[in-house]
């Protein structure tokens, strides 16, 4: 796969290293002269000097044949434009954009730039994962497909505890796809009994989270 990465900060540089280690062809674009010279000592011809929002810089990097363009500069407007041009001008099929300020996510979506990655959101998810009181963890949003995968812990005394999978009262559009128990996961059958303490993965239509938490949350204290 040929990948172009815009922005040679910590994210872009390390991403380039990782992708090269996985035997992908990568070109990193860095607009800062000093930063470029530093990176160039390690990456040599795999880094190019230039502003990735300029068309000739993208074309010199071979954007016409890129399979994936990743924009991870520290500037949201730059990341939006790089991805917009990659997608709409150069018809690159896959793009990934970094959102620096989560308040700008709305504009990325407005311009049709997806998926996006935001450090703030990732840390928030980590907090949700580490703080059990949140109960429900979003694992994956498939926006285009209108599906979500979430993880929820089965509380002691909840309606779903000690109940067979087939008998858990779930609304239309929700399916239990996996149970994590004692450090390993398995795909349950209808007669598998869910235990308190299990973590259950569900696939669902967006917006049904609230109807699910009641089944797995413990009695109100």
């Amino acid at each position: 796969m040929y990948v172009i990465i815009a922005g040679g900060g910590k994210v872009g540089w390390n991403l380039t290293r990782e992708l090269l280690a996985k035997n992908h062809e990568v070109t990193l674009l860095e607009a800062g002269r000093d930063r470029y010279l530093t990176i160039e000592q390690e990456l040599e011809h795999q880094v190019q000097y230039g502003d990735a929002t300029e068309l000739w810089v993208l074309e010199r990097a071979g954007i016409q044949r890129a399979d994936l363009v990743i924009a991870v500069t520290g500037d949201d407007e730059d990341n939006m434009l790089i991805c917009q041009m990659a997608k709409e001008k150069y018809l690159c099929e896959r793009i990934i954009a970094r959102v620096n300020n989560p308040r700008n996510r709305e504009w990325f979506e407005l311009l049709g730039i997806q998926p996006t990655v935001s450090a703030t959101d990732l840390i928030l998810r980590l907090i949700e994962h580490e703080v059990p009181s949140y109960g429900l963890v979003h694992l994956l949003d498939l926006r285009d497909e209108q599906l979500e995968i979430i993880e929820v812990e089965v509380a002691e005394g909840s309606p779903a505890a000690s109940v067979q999978v087939a008998d858990v009262k779930l609304p239309e559009g929700v399916l239990i796809i996996s149970i994590l128990r004692d450090g390993s996961g398995f795909v349950p059958k209808g007669d598998t009994v869910i235990n308190a303490g299990d973590e259950v993965l569900l696939v669902l239509d967006p917006g049904l989270e609230d109807s699910i938490t009641a089944q797995f949350a413990g009695p109100m204290t």
């Binding site: 407007e77 434009l81 407005l110």
Partner: protein, 142 residues
């Protein structure tokens, strides 16, 4: 006509003053409070006394845009010093707020030309400068 101008640099401030002088309602948004001085410079009255509006804020922030009156703008001019900021906020004005007349100042002629083909009106001072140098050269060497 209600004109919203984001970016009160030399170009934005001058365009704002002439729009106001032509009798339009003009609102200016800039993240630097000191840029207000450009609107007042050399004028007999202050920008506000002359009927202008000025809001401090960044053009990519929705609260700032709303405070500056974007929801009732007829003409939106993106004239900050950043090409990419101008291209993004001009598209926000078009697509999110449905403003009919949107103009973005884009220094880079290549990007200006491409976004022009995508239905965004752009003004590229660099392109004009190049054309003027070319015609001056032709004139001298003719």
């Amino acid at each position: 006509m209600f004109v919203l101008i984001v970016g009160a640099g030399r170009v934005g401030a001058a365009a704002a003053r002439s729009a106001l002088a032509s009798g339009h309602e003009v609102s200016v948004l800039d993240d630097d409070p000191l840029s207000h001085e450009r609107l007042d410079a050399g004028q007999p009255t202050s920008w506000e006394d002359a009927g202008g509006r000025f809001t401090v804020g960044h053009g990519i922030e929705i609260e700032a845009l709303l405070e500056a009156g974007i929801d009732r703008a007829d003409l939106f001019i993106a004239s900050t010093h950043g090409d990419n900021t101008n291209l993004v906020i001009a598209q926000i004005a078009q697509q999110r707020f449905g403003i009919k007349h949107v103009i973005a100042r884009v220094m880079d002629p290549a990007r200006a030309a491409w976004y022009e083909t995508q239905g965004l009106r752009t003004i590229s001072p660099t392109r004009h400068a190049i054309e003027m140098f070319e015609s001056a050269l032709n004139e001298i060497t003719a």
